[in-house]
Symmetry: D2
Subunit: 309 residues, 4 copies
C-alpha cells in the first residue's frame, strides 16, 4: 500500500464449477484478463466474489490462486468479511500467510455496532492481523454506514490505509475527501469507490481509484475511464462511464424483483464472463439462484451493444 493505491482494482468474481467448487483455472484466466487490461491491483473475496457464501477452505483456495497467478505483478487485496470479529481476525491472518498485501474489512454486522465499537474492531484487526486494513463501507450489506468522524480518526492514527466506499453516497464521499485534504491525509489514505455508475464522479471529487464489480466484465473500459480521468479528459471519462452504464444492464437480465438483486447481478456478470469465454461455468453459490432461461439472449445482446462480443 506504499505508494498509495490508485487506479482500477477489480473485485474479482469467484468462478465455480457445476458442483459448486472453486474453479481455479477460470479464476486464473479472469485474473490474467484484468491484469492485461491494466488493473492496478485486484480485490479477492469481496461481495462480487461471493465471499460471504464461501466456506473457509474455498476462501483459502481463492486467495492462494489469486496470489499465485498475480505473482507480485500488482498488490492483492483480500476481503476478510465475516460476522464474528474473531473470524475476521483469523481471515486477516490467513491473508497475511497467503501473501496478500492488505485486507478489506467491514463494520461488524448482525450485532448492530456503535461507531466506537466499529473503530475498536478495525484497530484489533490492524494490530492482530499483520496487514494494512482498508475499511469497507457497504451499508446495504451490514446495515450501518461508516461515519466520517470514525473514518478520519482511523486514517489519522494509521489504523486504516484506505476506504472502499460502496455506500453510493457521493455527497458524503466528497465531504470525507475534503476533510482528508484539510488534514493532509489525502496523500497517504487511499479512497476507492465501489460505484460502477458514478466512478467518473468519484474520481472528479478526488477519489484515488475504482473497485467496480462490472470491471470483471469490461476491465478495459474502466481502465480507459480511469486514464481519461487521470489525464483530465473528463468528457471522455464521462462518455466511457455512459457506455459502462449501458453495460450495467447485465445486472437486470434476471429481473431483480422476481429472483433477488444479488442473483440477478452476479448471475449477469458470470453469464457474461461465460459467454466471453473467460470462465467455464456461470454458476453462483447458494442461496443465489441461476438466471432464468432466456436471460442468456439478453446478456448476449447487451454484450454486443457494448462492443464486447
Amino acid at each position: 500500500m506504499t505508494p498509495i493505491l490508485t487506479g482500477v482494482v477489480p473485485p474479482l468474481c469467484t468462478p465455480l464449477t457445476p458442483a459448486g467448487e472453486v474453479d481455479t483455472r477460470s479464476l486464473g484466466a479472469l485474473v490474467e484478463r484484468v491484469l492485461s487490461a491494466g488493473a492496478a491491483a485486484v480485490f479477492a473475496l469481496g461481495s462480487s466474489g461471493e465471499a460471504a457464501l464461501l466456506d473457509d477452505a474455498q476462501r483459502r483456495t481463492v486467495l492462494a490462486t489469486v496470489v499465485e497467478v498475480v505473482a507480485g505483478r500488482v498488490p492483492v487485496l483480500a476481503g476478510a468479511v465475516d460476522m464474528s470479529p474473531a473470524r475476521v481476525l483469523a481471515h486477516a491472518r490467513t491473508a497475511a500467510a497467503l501473501g496478500a498485501d492488505a485486507v478489506v474489512v467491514t463494520a461488524p454486522f448482525y450485532v448492530v455496532p456503535h461507531p466506537d465499537e466499529t473503530a475498536a474492531h478495525f484497530r484489533r484487526v490492524r494490530e492482530g492481523g499483520g496487514l494494512p486494513v482498508v475499511g469497507y463501507d457497504i451499508p446495504s450489506s451490514v446495515g450501518t454506514k461508516l461515519d466520517a468522524r470514525t473514518v478520519l480518526a482511523l486514517a489519522e492514527d494509521g489504523t486504516l490505509a484506505g476506504l472502499k466506499d460502496s455506500s453510493g453516497d457521493l455527497n458524503a464521499l466528497r465531504r470525507l475527501l475534503g476533510a482528508l485534504r484539510e488534514r493532509g491525509l489525502h496523500r497517504t489514505f487511499s479512497v476507492l469507490t465501489g460505484s460502477e455508475l458514478a466512478a467518473d464522479a468519484a474520481l472528479l471529487a478526488g477519489a484515488h481509484g475504482i473497485v467496480p464489480g462490472l470491471g470483471n466484465v469490461d476491465p478495459d473500459g474502466y481502465v480507459r475511464l480511469y486514464e481519461h480521468a487521470r489525464a483530465g479528459r473528463w468528457a471522455e471519462a464521462a462518455a466511457e462511464q455512459d457506455r459502462l452504464a449501458a453495460l450495467f444492464a447485465l445486472t437486470g437480465t434476471g429481473d431483480p424483483a422476481a429472483m433477488g438483486a444479488a442473483s440477478s447481478a452476479l448471475g449477469g456478470f458470470k453469464a457474461a464472463l461465460h459467454l466471453l469465454g473467460v470462465i467455464d461455468c456461470p454458476a453462483t453459490a447458494p442461496p443465489l439462484t441461476p438466471l432464468p432461461d432466456g436471460a442468456g439472449a439478453a446478456v448476449r445482446r447487451i454484450l454486443q451493444e457494448a462492443g464486447l462480443l
Copy 2:
C-alpha cells in the same frame, strides 16, 4: 420551459420578519443578488424556502414578490408542495395566475402512494394546473423515491417538463439520464440536481442544471461551477465544488444532532445571508428553532474562509 431549462436555479430562501411574516424587501434583495450572479431561473417556495411551513397567504406573497422583482428577466419556478392533491392543484393554479412559468411538484406523501398513483397525480396537476410541471424527487421529505419507469413515462407523454433530483442517488440519476438519451428525451426534458456537493458530478453525468440551497449564499460560486462545466473545464468545476463543499459547513453550525438538521441548515443559510447584509433578519419559521448563541461566530468564520466576507 422552451428552450429547455439549464444553468443555476437557486431555490430561494424566504426571509421572514422577527414577527414571522414574509419580508418582501429582503426577498427582493435576495432575488436581485442571484440574478446579478447569473442565475438562469429562480425557484420560489421549495424546501429551502420553507414552503412547507408557510400558510397560503404567505406563499402567495412570496410568489407575487418574486414574479414582480424578476419581471420576466428569467423563468420563475414555483413549488406546489402540499399534502393534499387538491391543494397541490390549487397551488398550481395560483402560481399560474401569479405569473410563474412552471410548478415543481412532489409525489404525494402522508398517505403512502403507489407509483401509478404518483403518476396519475402528476397528470392531474399537469392537466388542471395550466403550467408545465417539474417533478420533485425528495425522498427524505416524502418517504418515496420517484422510480425511473414512472419518470420516463411522464417525460415521454409530456406530463413532466423536467425533474429536480434531491434524492442524492447519483447512480440512479445516471441511469435515468442514459435512458432519456436513448429515447431522445434529453433535448426536451430538463434534469436539475438539488445536490449542493455533487453538482459537478451531476453535470458531468449530463444533468442540465443545478438547484442548490447553498446557492442562496454563494450564487456566484455555483454560476462559476456551471460555466466551467459547460465549457468542459471539469478540473476547475471540481475545484469550485470543493470550495463550495467547505462553505457547506454552514449547515452544521447549529449542531444537527442537538437541534435538528433542517434548523441547522436553513438557520445557517439565513445567518450567512444576514451577515452578508442581504436579508434583515435570520429568523426561520416554526417548528424550526433559532441557531444557538455562538453559532454566529462560526458562520462568520466559514464565510471568511470562503472569501465571502
Copy 3:
C-alpha cells in the same frame, strides 16, 4: 376529556359522492351506526377519514356534520393533520369553533423535526388552539416516531391529554404505559391504540381505548372486544380479536402491491360499508384509486364469513 377517554373511538371514514364531495347523509349514517354500537367517542378527520386528501372546506363540512349528528352524546375528536404548523393551529381553532372536544395532532413532517421541535409544536397547538391535544404517533405517515421521553414530558406538563398510538410497536407502548403508571399519569393521560389486530394486547398492557379503522365496518365487534377486556374476559376478547383479524382481510382485496396499500385498505372499508348499506358510494379521494373489478365479490365473501352480511 374529563373523565379520561376510554373505550372504542372509531376513526370515521369520510363518505364521498361520485363527484368527490363529502356525502353528509352517509357520514351521518355512519356516525349513528357507531354510536348505536356503543362507541365511547368518535374521531373525525384521521387517516381513515382521508383527512390528508381533503381541502379545508371539505374538512370543515366533515367536522360540522359529525358534531351536529353526535349532538353531545359522546366526545368528538378532530384530526388537525397538516404539514404546516400554522395550518395545524388553524385547524385546531376551527375544530374548537365547530364544537369538537379535542384535536389529534401528529409530529411535524416533510421538514424532518428534532424531538424538541416536535415538543414545542405540540405546546404551541395546546396554547393557541383552545382544545385538549391528543398526540398522534404515526411513523408510517410522518417518518418519525414520538419518543417516550417527549411524550412523558408533554403528559407531565399537561400539553398532551392523551396519545393515539398507530406505530404498531407494542413493546414501546408497554414501556410508555409503565412509565406513565410510575408517575401517576395513567389516571389522567389517555392512551389509545390504533392497532386493529392487537387491540386486545394493548388493552391487556393497560391502554385505555381503541381507535380501529376497521371499527367503521364492525363497531359492534370492537365494542364487544373492549367490554370483554374491561371485564377481564381476556380469552373472549382474544377470540373476538381473532374474528376481527379475519375481517381485516378487507384491506387486501385490492392487492396492496398492485395498487397501493392505502387504496386497498380504505377502498376495502368503503366497499364494505357500501355493501352493508351504510354509505351510498365507495369512492375514495385522489390520489387513491378505486378497487379493481372483482374485488367486490371478495369483499362480500369476507363480510359473509364474518357474519356481517
Copy 4:
C-alpha cells in the same frame, strides 16, 4: 419437537472468562437455574448467547456443555446463525452430532435474499442438517423480515417445525397465527415469541411459547407469566409482564446511545447474573464493550426493585 414445543425457552447467555473463553461452569449453573425455574427447553447460541461473536470451537463448547448439563431433561435448541449457507449447514450437522434437538436458522444475510431464496435455504438446512428447523425472524439483525407466505409454505411442507419471532411486529404475528389455525397447522407448528415486553400479548394471540433474553435473569418470572397465561389468568400474566418490563431497564444501564444497544443490553443481563451469583464474570465478547463504571449500582438497584436481590 414432538409433542409441539410450548412454554418458556430461555435463550441462554454465554458466560465468558476474563480471557474471553467460554466459562463452562457458569454456563452449567445458568442452565440449572433456568431448569429449576421450569424452562420447557433451552436455546443455546442465539443472539442473547452472542453466537455471532463466537468462533466455531467456542460454539461447539457451548452446545456440548448445554447438552451435557441438560442431560435430556428438556429439548435443546441450537442456533445455527451464520452468514454462509454452507456454514449454517455445517452448524446444523454439528448440532445434530452433539445431541441438540432442533436448530434455529435465520434468513440469509449480508447478501440480501429474495424470499424464494430464503425458502430454498431453509429447505437445504432441513434436508441436509438432520434436525428439525425453527425459523428465526430477526429483521434487526438480518435486514429482512420472513413474510407470512413463505413461513406458511414452509410450515405446510414440513420444512419448518416452528418460528421464533423476534420481529416485534405483533400485528404480523397475529395474522400468521390466524392463517396457521385456518390451515390446521397450529397443532404442529410451534410459534415462539422473542419479545420480552409483549410476551403476554403474544400468548393471548395464540403463540405457543416465549424465548425471552431477560429470562436468563428472571426465569421464574417468565414461567409464572406463562403459567398464568396457560391457565387463563390474563390479568395476573399482565401484572407479571409489567414487573418484567420494569426489570427490562437492565438493558439501559449502559446508555445505549453512548455505547451501543447490544453492549448495553447483554452487558446488563450479564452484570445482573454476576451480581446474582450465577456467573463468575460479566464479560461480553468483542466488538461489545463493557458497561461503564457506575452501571453496577444501577443494575443492583433494578434487581432490588424487582425483588431479585
